[in-house]
Symmetry: C2
Subunit: 339 residues, 2 copies
DNA sequence: CATGACTGTGCAACCGGTTGCATTTCTTAT
DNA sequence: ATAAGAAATGCAACCGGTTGCACAGTCATG
């Protein structure tokens, strides 16, 4: 049984018959830039309006080779920053007539399954939105011939795919310089999962500057970028005794977890312990959190990611680039002030 | 230029030629329940493996009438609870082989545009995930012949579409009873936007019980379900003087905003002012928030929504039902204890 | 060994559009 | 008025699959 027909869908043919023109004519009226006379167009539009016709994007994709669907792949649905990320991506894509097919990668490691799936749906391109996935993940799509952009990914000298994100090493340096300027002596890095590329790079930049200045540096890692992991790790550190004076946390949600741990332990922030985060997500600015952090220019990165994926759709042969965006300190209340 | 070909896509035909069988045979090997001999199947699978073939889901949708895509429509990307909602929906849909096409409805009021869009993409069904949209929104899809489920929507006696959610009136009553049991005298309702159906119903239930017990009830509304709106409204109330003893807030994020306002004003919670939220989102349990709230069984509602949409795909003629889920109090630290 | 019931297979039409090409219609210039 | 060029239109093939139907092959049965 033809379900589409059962659903009472109106097709090109119906409109063509009512308007008394050929199917081509109808198709052309709905194709920007095609050659149709005003008279025909008027007839077709009227018929279409009467029937309530709207073209089947999927059918046309068969011949045009474009679905205007973009796979949006994410692997962290517990970090509130991703709600902002989804908001910006979906709005931005929609504004350009593109449709996000959302893929939740939680617990998934290899790209194979997602690649198969997204190819089966003929998405025009894929945006991998993750700071924890390795470069190889996005490369899997590229190898499969699918245009891909890795947002918030790791910067490399000769990227195989387009990568956009902050310079995590520079961000680490910035954090270090900020803490040094504040006169902190015993500093610590409380990273995200040690396997995440973003964690590794932030640590590299941070350690480089801290060590160059001869300060004490201790290091530990939370099991993932989440409140619970940040809190648990900080509680462990406090229980172990002699905590550092200040912690550069892997990201904001981790910072907030750490913050709650210090409060639970009866320590004051920033008087007893300082905390600096990274991302500057909406919640960092909430009055009851008020986290000093490093601003991650999401909106810019996402806008650029969309520009880029759109450009690749037209020409997938351009050499991939790694675009880095500048971070800046957002002064709030979790770090002691300049001496 | 045929882009699909340019992308080097392998089609049925290629596999058929290599395997030395007809296109039908190939199609059948990839269709569950079709009649193919083991010998043919083996040949086809081998050929497919060599070529790296995967069937084009969109092409097949043309004849089968099914895309296995589900439109997921949301209109609030600032309430962290929705990150949990997206997580559960995407995982649940994926587990059943369905693909979520995400629609961000922010600033959009009428369903027309979304209906057109989702019909153009021939989604099999639509899930409207919103507690603020009116019933008419989801009904628009139904009228267009698209199977639809409204999750977190308003309960009505004779629903036109399937609605799943908590009983907001009962939740309001539960909040009221809880406050009365705690011995509060001057209570207040700090709702979400007055136009949201969820706000209206929660207020109705709340007011009913409070008024029946002869207590003082004051009412105000935040401009939307967000931290900023909750904080702003509570600041306004505090500035106006003589606040109530306890506030039943429209939802958790609003509660957290209100909580931060009371703290900014130097008031202690729950000693000076009590706050009770609704939803029990992840963050409500964070140690530094620790919000007493009413648990909204999302996971159940979402699982049921997916079950239901799947059922409708097979039979869109079944009469719509409104399914209500029970709420319960989650005791934490923002309400004074029983006297 | 003939018969009938089944299982597999391929042909060809179809799903809802797009598009190259040939043909017709309309402009415009002479 | 006429020829040349441009614009509009329809035909038919095609995109990548699915499926009803007819036919061929297999097998157990009488």
């Amino acid at each position: 049984m033809p379900r589409a027909a059962a659903r009472g869908a109106i097709t090109l043919k119906d409109v063509a018959m009512l308007a008394g023109v050929s199917r081509s004519a109808v198709s052309r009226t709905f194709t920007a830039g095609a050659s149709v006379s005003d008279k025909t167009r008027a007839k077709v539009e009227q018929a279409a309006a009467i029937l309530g016709y709207s073209p089947n994007a999927l059918a046309s994709s068969l011949t045009t080779g474009r679905t205007k669907m973009i796979g949006l792949v994410a692997n962290n649905f517990h970090n509130p920053v991703f709600l902002q990320v989804f908001d910006l991506f979906t709005k931005g894509l929609q504004a350009r007539g593109l449709r996000p097919l959302l893929v939740n990668l939680t617990d998934e490691v290899s790209p194979e399954a997602s690649i198969r799936m997204l190819r089966a749906y003929s998405v025009d391109g894929v945006i991998v939105a993750s700071s924890t996935l390795p470069a190889s993940f996005a490369e899997g799509f590229k190898d499969a011939g699918v245009p891909v952009v890795h947002s918030f990914g790791r910067h490399t000298a000769n990227p195989q795919v387009n990568v956009l994100g902050i310079d995590n090493i520079a961000a680490g340096r910035l954090a270090a310089k900020t803490l040094i300027a504040r006169g902190y002596q015993r500093v610590a890095f409380l990273g995200g999962p040690a396997t995440a590329t973003s964690t590794q790079d932030r640590f590299a930049g941070f350690a480089e500057v801290i060590e160059a200045s001869g300060l004490d540096l201790s290091v530990s890692y939370a099991s993932n970028y989440s409140f619970d992991a940040g809190r648990a790790e900080m509680l462990r550190l406090l229980a172990a005794g002699s905590p550092a004076e200040v912690y550069f946390c892997g990201d904001d949600v981790l910072s907030i977890g750490a913050l709650s741990a210090t409060q639970s332990a009866g320590l004051r922030v920033p008087e007893d312990i300082g905390i600096i985060g990274l991302n500057d997500m909406e919640m960092a600015g909430w009055a009851n959190i008020n986290l000093t952090t490093i601003h991650n220019p999401f909106a810019q990165i996402i806008a650029a990611s969309i520009d880029l994926i759109e450009a690749i759709l037209d020409d997938n042969s351009r050499t991939p680039e790694a675009r880095l965006f500048d971070c800046s300190i957002v002064e709030r209340g979790t770090l002691r002030h300049l001496p």
